[in-house]
Amino acid sequence: MAMLEIDNLHAKIEGEEGREILKGLTLSVNPGEVHAIMGPNGSGKSTLSYILAGKEDYEVTDGSVTFEGEDLLEMEIDERAAKGLFLAFQYPIEVPGVATMTFLRSALNAQRKKRGEEEISTPDFLRLIRERAGGLGISQDMLKRGVNVGFSGGEKKRAEILQMAVLQPKLCILDETDSGLDIDALKVVSEGVNALRSPDRAMIVITHYQRLLNHIVPDVVHVMNKGRIVRSGGKELALELEANGYAEYQQDAA
């Protein structure tokens, strides 16, 4: 059984005159797989990730999404998180005055509580975060600062991956995690992501650049245009896109 099953998903912006953004999107992701989604600006990639995470600005008008056999669209945002869905934001949000450390611990314990698990002990948590932060080159000082407050663009992306590494979700959605990263940071972040690859974890990697996919090698590459997956293929599809751009798909859809 697929971990994530999206079938003919239609969604529009909430409200009377809300424009339709997703227009019949179908996608199936199995545990252990890494899927890349590429596509022109405005094609609906971030919208898809928000809808999967449960953001309330959108209205699903048709189609269905199941996560491990359950109706994902029926679940609250935090319930989805506790079930193992994680979104690394294209634009991470600042939470002033809440240390990254405190934030992560509250989040982890909230998830554990919802899953009926014990809270993590302080030493265990400290060990976990120290180990994961070290791997991503995140300093103790950054962990004490407010969530994303005063972080550089690259630091924000790294902090997102740290959160993912600490929360250990089943399905990771990475929305343009590579944008804003310098070459070295790209390597560090990719290694961090690769370290999380496992047979029971799946990933959806949204990106504009084939470069990232040299580091995080996908099993499947999808091309998204105007709210639909218009082509899927192996990792060589990314190279083709890099060479030819999206012109061909945009004509098709027109």
Partner: protein, 491 residues
């Protein structure tokens, strides 16, 4: 439904009826006749066995009060208060005042236990063994102080900590010298009223060079119906002394509004430091805005000596109306005043609070950090004055006022006044108003927090700078209180 909208709905349906200190203790009490006349003042003074000079002081205040008008400049609305419909004195019935803790009515002890305040030194002492910190407590129940703990141990250090009614009898010279020296009898309508009818409160004197060996704390409890509470607190830190003091307040839930008009005076002599913290959680009224305490309080500290320091920290979550401006008069050269405030309003609460920093001495400094959080239909105003006298060369102030709105039915206002008569004064003012954004809530929820946990976390982040100023054990309390007072929007 967007998350903020949902939060608004929750706040709307909030039972402030969840106020967990809202119980009433059924106890026989002795009251003065209803209303306020010269007779009432005499009655209170006689009850307290006061010397003649004290009675005269009160009567003068009373006469003055009769000529005064209630102030109306604050951004609060309430129906006129009929001062003749109130009781001005209520005491738990007892033949004599309690001689020791064992004489206290068990009902009252039980009340304080319910509030989580151990009055029995024995219990508190047991606390030490288990590592809990020691806090000396004075408990004021309606109009009288019912117990002061750790009195003997404090006396060993030379610290006087007792009900003010006792201090008037035992240390008349000290009281005479300092009472009304910071907040004059004629200061304002509510302070003058308090001067006429105050019934009890705490008195603290820390002698020269003494660092008070423990936190001092007073818990105020209004129990009786239709009874005003007018406590009076006087704290003196003599040269080089240090004291940290905390007050906490609760009241039963009642449909009618109750009046609370306290006066607090602090005097810091040369090189002395007073740290005064308040966790104010009077009953705020129900979800429709019915009932709740009218909290009209005058608090002022006088940095009388050079290099003295007074620091106010307040966490204001209760009361239907709060009218309160803990202030510092920076008289001594190089003296320092601080004001750290968290004011949370929900339901139909109205808060008009802030501070005054009056720079008189040379090279005086002050710092104001105010965090206002408005939810529900509430109104939350920061009102502050920073002034430098002609002679206040080198005065400096830093003010930071941040407001956070939860939902769109509430209001936050900032009213800063700045007056400088000395060109070398440097005053800095920063202010922000923000809303808890949908994006922040979504982000926190995506990480697994439910909307209430998310709101609590965001609010706690917002007030962090101020929470850090509270004594450790109260910071944790305050954090919980913040969550509770935003209940409906916070878990």
């Amino acid at each position: 439904m967007p998350a903020v909208q949902e939060t608004v709905e929750q706040v709307r349906s909030i039972d402030v009826d969840q106020y967990k200190y809202g119980f009433f203790t059924d106890i026989e009490s002795e009251k003065a006749a209803k209303g306020l006349t010269e007779e009432t003042v005499r009655f209170i003074s006689a009850k307290k066995d006061e010397p003649e000079w004290m009675l005269e002081w009160r009567l003068e205040a009373f006469r003055r009060w009769q000529t005064m008008r209630e102030p109306d400049w604050a951004r609060v609305n309430y129906p006129p208060i009929d001062y003749q419909e109130l009781y001005y004195y209520a005491a738990p019935k007892k033949k004599d005042g309690p001689k020791s803790i064992d004489d206290i009515d068990p009902e009252i002890l039980a009340t304080y236990e319910k509030l989580g305040i151990p009055l029995r030194e024995r219990d508190a002492l047991l606390g030490i063994e288990s590592g809990a910190s020691r806090v000396a407590v004075d408990a004021v129940f309606d109009s009288v102080s019912v117990a002061t703990t750790f009195k003997e141990e404090l006396a060993k250090a030379g610290v006087i900590f007792m009900p003010i009614s006792e201090a008037i009898r035992e240390y008349p010279e000290l009281v005479k010298k300092y009472l009304g020296s910071v907040v004059p009898v004629t200061d304002n309508f509510f302070a003058t009223l308090n001067s006429a009818v105050f019934s009890d409160g705490s008195f603290v004197y820390v002698p020269k060079g003494v660092r008070c060996p423990m936190e001092l704390s007073t818990y105020f409890r209004i129990n009786e119906r239709n009874t005003g509470q007018f406590e009076r607190t006087l704290i003196i830190a003599d040269e080089g002394a240090y004291v940290s003091y905390l007050e906490g307040c609760t009241a039963p839930m009642r449909d009618e509004n109750q009046l609370h008009a306290a006066v607090v005076e602090l005097v810091a002599l040369a090189d002395a430091e007073i740290k005064y913290s308040t966790v104010q959680n009077w009953y705020p009224g129900d979800s429709q805005g019915k009932g709740g305490i009218y909290n009209f309080v005058t608090k002022r500290g006088d940095c009388r000596g050079d290099r003295s320091k007074i620091s106010w920290t307040q966490v204001e979550t209760g009361s239907a109306i709060t009218w309160k401006y803990p202030s510092c008069i920076l008289r001594g050269d190089e003296s320092r005043g601080e004001f750290y405030s968290i004011a949370i309003s929900n339901g139909y609460q109205q808060v008009d609070s802030g501070t005054k920093m009056i720079h008189l001495g040379k090279n005086t400094t002050s710092r104001i950090i105010s965090k206002g959080i408005a939810a529900g239909h509430s109104d939350n105003t920061y009102r502050g004055l920073v002034s430098a006298h002609r002679k206040a060369t080198g005065a400096r102030n830093f003010t930071n006022c941040d407001s956070l709105l939860i939902g769109d039915k509430c209001g936050a206002h900032t009213v800063p006044y700045i007056e400088s008569k000395n060109s070398s004064a440097q005053f800095e003012h920063e202010a922000t108003t923000s809303k808890i954004s949908e994006d922040q809530l979504f982000y926190c929820q995506q990480r697994g927090l439910d909307p209430e946990e998310a709101t609590a976390l965001i609010v706690n982040g917002f007030v962090k700078d101020v929470l850090q100023q509270l004594p450790m054990e109260f910071a944790v309390e305050a954090q919980k209180l913040i969550s509770v007072s935003l209940e409906g929007s916070v878990g």
